[in-house]
């Protein structure tokens, strides 16, 4: 499937998003903006104990409250939530409850205030079960068991445990080393904290369920709902038109979609279930925290000979996703072994958050590598350059790899060679520091589908299942269609995110939208172009295969003056429909987008406060198809990484097992004041396997950001902080040691 580069007419240009107008005028209707006649409002009650059997749940007082229409709980709504847990079975309401925040009941009422009042009237008797919060404690034989199979989270297939991977000969690798280093790095649970709170609107019509969801994947959401409710796919419709962010915690369908569906069914009215911000912080999931123990063997010149990683990741009470750590991905490691233990504890669930397995382990590994460079007296840029990955697992070539150029161009832009100094050597109270790290994210092909309808006037409809979670996916798909069709962008209307109308989409997670659905859009365009050329051929007195279409004109390739407007070619066709389902594969190659990030900081050694004075992000994402949103995503990923590095942490009180800061202010999400100006560099080369030469953009930028600023702080202070977040108190403490 390798393709040669081509000249583009609109791909890669700076074009505003096709739906920017709606978004800046308040006319973009998000799920929560939808009002249906007779709609009820629903709220969720959550457990305030970390581990307990529900002995009784008395909803009678709540039910008597005027306006309350239904109360559901584990007794009367035993609905499995298959994707909510892959070790022990999870339901939308569980008994026993397994963490503070586990849902215990939901109320539907005529008004959201009444629903909130009703929650307070539900009386629950709990019989407490011993609990465990710390993952290392949880692995001890006498620890309270959260899953019947134990606290090491052993599920099937992708959810097995421990997660093990190895290649080469570890023992030989360490023997070859001149020096061996060992250390431990720790990261914390941070919430995705997307601005749009979870909301779901469900309604039933003659046995068909419609869910207006805030989801990152309407097709997957439909599959989940159909499976767990025992419905055929044709009787479930999932719609998500505008979506207010998710960063991995709105994939598929979630329990609140199910609760809304059940409440709508039992009341026979549409139901809008809204989460509060606290619900969002404790009731869904954030990034899995980790304790990473590394043993790294290196030659005197810094060359890595072997890496061993033993880690524990805290998945909370349910295993929704892998719990893997992949920060070693960007380095050439000839001999490697990792053993990662995803563990259950009685805490808020951990699962996908933008580049799920990366920023925490890039922090660990790139910090440690930076430190080893210091110990060996090597400039970090040389250390990273020397050890950058060139072949996947030291074996397979990449579809394209310009990591070297990312390092060269990024370090040049920030002025590394002039600005780097020995760690802690900068003068003054406010100390300058500079740091870097490598990152990226896998680029994979996969199943995509698209339909293109050409109207008799030459305008087009593009139908794709994708939801636009903020990445500009809708615009990117339109740009790909316009380029592939040869029709101006403003002639293309995109319909997206509606399982009754739009074709299958894999789900807008894992940076897959462009690489999975993009090829399908191109193929659908090819399909409909053939039909157009067949219609135009007689008038142009040429064979169909001799024709081309550009700027809405069908013309003879060998003589472009021989042309007719598209609308003339298709005027009497009624409608042409092009369609494609594509599923390209890689053979003997591996795909990855790469990045090298660089930051300068100023550390106030009196207050421990860190200011990022400059940030350069150099990325190899292949060709950039939709330039402005691509740049924006790089900037935004860096800002999220900075939040994780400096301030964000969901803190669980040890005494009560209760999250004490489940909100923006106390969990410390970065604001305008903390965000640096991010200088974005794209190292653009055509990737032979990507649609129009593009690889992936969405997830790479967060991967290196945490380690980059952490390394800059080390360069400023000469003190290595090995536990996130790097708050001022930790910096001050480190300096006193």
């Amino acid at each position: 499937m390798a393709q040669a580069p081509k000249e583009f007419s609109i791909v890669g240009k700076r074009i505003p998003r096709i739906d920017a107008y709606e978004r800046v005028t308040g006319q973009a209707h998000y799920t929560g903006d939808i009002q249906l006649p007779g709609m009820l409002y629903a709220r969720v009650l959550r457990s305030n104990v970390p581990h307990a059997k529900i002995v009784s749940i008395d909803t009678s007082k709540a039910e008597k409250l005027p306006g309350v229409k239904a109360v559901i709980n584990h007794e009367n709504a035993k609905v499995p939530w298959s994707s909510g847990g892959h070790t022990h079975q999870r339901f939308i309401f569980n008994n026993p409850v397994r963490f503070v925040g586990d849902a215990v009941a939901a109320v539907a009422a005529t008004d959201r205030h009444i629903a909130e009042d009703a929650l307070k009237l539900i009386e629950i008797k709990y019989e407490k079960i011993p609990h465990v919060l710390d993952p290392n404690e949880a692995l001890k034989p006498d620890a309270p068991k959260i899953s019947t199979s134990g606290n090491l989270s052993v599920g099937k297939g992708a959810f097995s445990a421990p997660i093990e991977e190895s290649w080469g000969d570890l023992e030989k690798g360490f023997k070859e080393a001149d020096q061996t280093f060992e250390d431990t790095y720790i990261t914390k649970h941070t919430n995705n904290a997307q601005l749009e709170r979870r909301v779901s609107i469900a309604k039933w019509d003659a046995g068909k369920l419609t869910v207006y969801a805030s989801t990152q994947g309407v097709s997957n959401a439909r599959t989940d709902i159909a499976k767990d409710f025992g419905l055929p796919l044709s009787r479930v419709r999932v719609v998500s038109k505008y979506m207010g962010g998710g960063f991995g915690n709105k994939n598929q369908a979630q329990d609140y979609d199910y609760m809304a569906a059940v409440l709508a069914k039992v009341t026979n009215q549409p139901v809008k279930l809204e989460f509060t911000r606290e619900d969002d912080y404790i009731g869904m999931h954030g990034r899995w925290p980790s304790e990473q123990h590394y043993k790294i063997g290196v030659k005197k010149d810094g060359t890595i000979t072997a890496v061993q990683l033993d880690a524990v990741t805290n998945m909370g009470a349910y295993r929704k996703q892998s719990g893997n750590l992949s920060g070693t991905d960007f380095y050439n490691i000839p001999n490697f072994k990792k053993v990662i233990k995803p563990v259950h504890t009685n805490t808020v669930v951990s699962a996908n958050y933008r580049a799920p397995a990366y920023p925490q382990s890039v922090f660990g590994f790139a910090s440690f590598l930076d430190h080893i460079a210091y110990e060996l007296g090597i400039n970090p840029v040389d250390m990273f350059m020397k050890n950058r990955i060139q072949k996947y697992k030291s074996k397979l070539p990449f579809t394209s790899n310009y990591l070297e150029q990312c390092i060269i161009e990024g370090s040049k832009r920030i002025g590394w060679s002039e600005k780097w100094h020995k760690p802690g050597a900068a003068p003054g109270v406010k100390k300058h520091g500079i740091g870097m790290a490598l990152g990226g994210y896998p680029f994979r092909p996969g199943l995509g589908a698209a339909t293109i309808r050409i109207n008799p006037d030459g305008s087009a409809h593009l139908l794709v299942g994708v939801t636009d979670i903020g990445t500009g996916a809708k615009s990117t798909m339109a740009i790909i269609a316009a380029e592939a069709l040869g029709i101006p962008l403003n002639q293309i209307q995109v319909t997206n995110g509606d399982t009754d109308v739009t074709p299958y989409s894999v789900g807008e997670s894992g940076s897959r939208t462009t690489s999975f659905t993009g090829p399908a859009v191109i193929a659908a365009a090819e399909d409909v172009r053939k039909q157009i050329f067949a219609l135009a051929a007689p008038e142009l007195k040429a064979k169909a295969e001799e024709l081309d279409l550009r700027d809405g004109q069908v013309f003879v390739k060998s003589d472009p003056s021989q042309k007719i407007p598209l609308e003339r070619a298709v005027a009497r066709a009624g409608e042409l429909i092009g369609r494609a389902t594509t599923n390209p594969e890689f053979k003997d190659v591996e795909g990855k987008s790469f990045s090298a990030h660089f930051a300068e900081v100023e550390v106030d050694t009196l207050t421990g406060h860190v200011k990022i004075t400059r940030y350069v992000a150099a990325h190899d994402s292949g060709m950039i198809l939709n330039r402005m949103p691509a740049e924006s995503q790089i900037m935004g990923g860096v800002v999220q990484g900075i939040g994780m590095a400096f301030s964000e942490e969901l803190i669980i009180d040890k005494l009560t097992a209760t999250p004490i800061n489940p909100n923006y202010r106390d969990a410390k999400v970065p604001t305008h004041l903390e965000a640096p100006n991010v200088e974005v560099i794209f190292i653009e080369h055509h990737d032979p396997y990507g649609p129009f030469g593009g690889k992936v953009v969405g997830e790479p930028p967060i991967t290196a950001a945490v380690a980059t600023v952490a390394n800059a702080i080390f360069n400023a202070t000469g003190k290595r902080i090995k536990e996130l977040p790097i708050t001022p108190d930790k910096i001050l403490q480190a300096r006193q040691v």
């Binding site: 505003p16 920017a20 107008y21 800046v24 005028t25 308040g26 929560g32 005027p66 306006g67 309350v68 229409k69 109360v71 007794e75 009367n76 709504a77 035993k78 609905v79 499995p80 298959s82 005529t110 008004d111 205030h113 009444i114 995705n192 904290a193 997307q194 601005l195 749009e196 709170r197 046995g207 499976k227 767990d228 409710f229 025992g230 419905l231 207010g244 962010g245 199910y258 409440l263 069914k265 039992v266 026979n268 509060t276 911000r277 903020g470 500009g472 402005m628 924006s632 995503q633 900037m635 935004g636 990923g637 860096v638 800002v639 923006y664 999400v669 970065p670 604001t671 305008h672 991010v678």
Partner: protein
Amino acid sequence: MEEKKKGTKLSRRSFLKGIGGGAIGTAVISTGLIQSDPAAAYSPETVGARGNRAAITLKVNGKAYRVEVEHRSTLAEVLRDELGLTGTKIGCDRGECGACTVIINGRNMYSCSQLAVWMDGKDILTIEGLAKGDKLDPLQEAFIEHDGPQCGFCTSGQIMSGKALLMKNSKPNEAQARRGLSGNLCRCGNYNREVAAVLAVAAKAR
């Protein structure tokens, strides 16, 4: 379709069992429904009419609305639910994120943290009121040109804070722009873009 034939009590009990065909592992719902006279469900006592209510006049985007609101309803709720002005978003409902920012008597404020009853007679400007007919406000245009929205959920609030700043100071510098917008979170992290949009409008005023 099964529902029509059966009695009211049975129909809701059996709906999912029927659909599920008894498949193991799928939903089993007995009832969460409160058995009551269906007609009573829509009696005036129960349809959002609880609690103390007051009739107020809201002046929104130059238009006066006479609305009866519950004392505890926030301005954000009334704008969205009663007036259908859903461009104002609610991100946290606790005065932290700024998605609900509107301009009240010339100041940007969190509408989730203002009770609607306090707004009687005040001048309120929301995102829907910025454009003059088809002509967008220069700040809205700048947000389009500078890729201000990613997911777009915070965008209305960012624009309203930016607008309030520009109303007071038509030529803010970068630091002033950042401070002016600092009450508006953007989890997509699109801060550079939002500030750039405000500065672009300021540059035209210079």
